[in-house]
């Protein structure tokens, strides 16, 4: 392949990426008023749906439970039942770090389940076991939420540090054997050169990313979703504790579908970018550098999300009716 073909291919690839980003931004900014207003109004309908599903169980018994599960699942899918920051953090992590599709989906699913579990444990411990008020449960939930944001910031910091160190090491090596043709030895499995210590590096990276994912799940999942807490409180008042717990897990399943879709998008977008990058004339050599740079940027972004959310959560405005 001649250099000019490679260059033009890279140009087309870049153009596609830029166009896609612009389309997304335009969609986010210019979503027709009517449609977004309809989405906003949809929230009210979902709440009504959940309430009537719960009332149906109270009236007709567990035979009506299917309605509640379906409504909760839908609520989870569309309202994404809480993990607003979860989606953001998980997709940023997946877009800027090496992960395959299966891991991305597993990560989203486990994070959603852990969030549901946190909500059940928080309400269970505070209200059911200690007999404290709902307001206390709310306060506890907010404390958990803030801890979660703090851990997300910490997670971002650790990611940035690791990526920064890899980047420095690479730069040093580059400087060291710049005359050598083979610039990059421990490129991930996308690299062209099958190096001697390739497999070792790959499995090392695999272990590293697994550890990171567990940390990510804990950091994100520590924040109970507010929708789940409301449902548990309402179910308790209706004398339907078990139905409430079932509803919360149905919600988590719905949330998982949503977040996993975004995770899949992130993984695919990264792959596409890698393929385009590999087709570039200087291809493999600089790729590792770029990857570490992207990972560093991702880590910094995640740290930024965490810090901003942590700050925002500290200023809790008192509401006259709560």
């Amino acid at each position: 392949m001649s250099d000019s073909t490679a260059l033009s291919r890279r140009g087309v690839g870049l153009a596609v990426l830029v166009l896609a980003a612009m389309a997304l931004a335009a969609f986010a900014a210019g979503l027709p008023d009517q449609l977004s207003w309809a989405i906003q109004n949809g929230q009210r309908s979902f709440h009504h749906l959940l309430v009537s599903a719960m009332q149906a169980i109270k009236a007709q018994g567990l035979a009506a439970g299917g309605g509640l599960i379906a409504a909760s699942f839908a609520y989870g899918v569309f309202h994404a039942a809480g993990p607003g920051h979860g989606k953001l953090v998980i997709s940023t992590y997946l877009a800027t770090n090496d992960a395959n599709l299966r891991r991305g989906i597993a990560l989203s699913t486990v994070a959603a389940l852990v969030q549901a579990l946190t909500a059940v444990v928080a309400v269970g411990a505070v209200v059911w076991l200690l007999g404290a008020s709902n307001r206390t449960a709310q306060t506890a939930a907010m404390a958990l939420e803030q801890s979660s944001y703090g851990l997300v910031a910490l997670f971002g910091a650790v990611l940035s540090f690791a990526a920064g160190r890899r980047l420095l090491g690479r730069l040093r090596r580059h400087a060291g054997d710049a005359s050598d043709g083979h610039l990059d030895h421990d490129d991930h499995h996308h690299g062209h050169q099958a190096c001697a210590h390739g497999p070792d590096a790959a499995s090392l990276a695999g272990t590293r990313s697994l550890r990171q994912m567990v940390a990510l799940v804990l950091a994100v999942g520590l924040r109970p979703c507010s929708g789940a807490i409301l449902v548990l409180v309402f179910a308790e008042a209706a004398g339907l504790r078990l139905a409430g717990i079932a509803a919360v897990f149905a919600m988590a399943a719905g949330t998982a579908v949503t977040v996993a879709s975004l995770a899949a998008l992130a993984v695919h977008a990264r792959r596409l970018a890698l393929r385009l990058g590999a087709a570039a004339p200087e291809g493999g050599g600089r790729l590792g550098l770029w990857l570490d740079g992207v990972a560093l940027a991702g880590g910094l972004a995640i740290m930024g999300f965490g810090v901003i959310l942590f700050q925002a959560a500290r200023v809790i405005a008192a509401h006259p009716l709560l």
């Binding site: 207003w37 989606k87 008020s133 008042a237 006259p320 009716l321």
Partner: protein
């Protein structure tokens, strides 16, 4: 493969908008402008039904059908007291002038099924001519938009009292700007979009009265 990608993108877009977003509670509203025999506005009558989740939350473990009246009264008194600094979530304009409100004196509260019901009247500080030849409009909203307050139907906004003969109300739906919707959509339970967000989502009631009979 391509179709899967399209589905994923669509799912992603659907989800991008609402994520634990404001509002987090809802109130079903009925309201009425009170006109005295001289056609002066004396106050706004407000009838709230809180959504079942909010109700369960504030009842704190008590089942809706077992709530004691004394507890409901205590809660209502507390809420009314807290709302004083917020003009009782009420904004009244006569001929373009914002009207000051006086403290609410008394309320009624009860359970209506799974929903908490609260009724009170927000008096204007000084009764003001608002019937024939005047432009009267009012809105009932939570300035932070944590709670969304909407009339249950177009007929739920009324004008009553001896001076209200022939008067009509019109409910003006909110037309929130895109940026406000996006901001609200991004706000989680513990976040605030400031005290000017709710106004953008407020329903306004305009009252028009026939000119004096010949």
């Amino acid at each position: 493969m391509r179709s899967i990608a399209v589905i994923l993108v669509c799912a992603g877009c659907l989800v991008a908008a609402p994520a634990g977003s404001h509002p987090h509670a809802w109130i079903d509203l009925e309201s009425g402008a009170l006109l005295d025999d001289q056609g002066r506005l004396t106050g706004i009558e407000i009838d709230w039904r809180f959504d079942a989740f909010y109700t369960a939350f504030v009842l704190d473990g008590t089942r809706p059908d077992q709530a004691r009246q004394a507890d409901l009264d205590k809660l209502a008194a507390e809420n009314i007291g807290n709302l004083k600094d917020y003009s009782y979530f009420t904004e009244i304009e006569v001929d373009g002038q914002r009207q000051a409100v006086a403290p609410v004196d008394g309320f009624k509260t009860a359970m209506r099924g799974d929903q908490l019901w609260l009724h009170f009247v927000v008096p204007v500080a000084t009764p003001v001519a608002a019937a024939a030849g005047h432009r009267l409009r009012y809105a009932v909203y939570d300035p932070t938009y944590f709670i969304e307050i909407r009339h249950v139907s177009k007929q739920a906004a009324r004008v009553t009292g001896p001076g209200s003969t022939g008067c009509q109300t019109r409910l003006v739906e909110p037309r929130p700007p895109m940026e406000a919707i996006a901001l609200a959509a991004g706000l989680d339970m513990s976040e605030s979009g400031g005290d000017s967000l709710g106004r953008l989502f407020a329903e306004w009631v305009t009252v028009t009265c026939p000119t004096a009979p010949p």
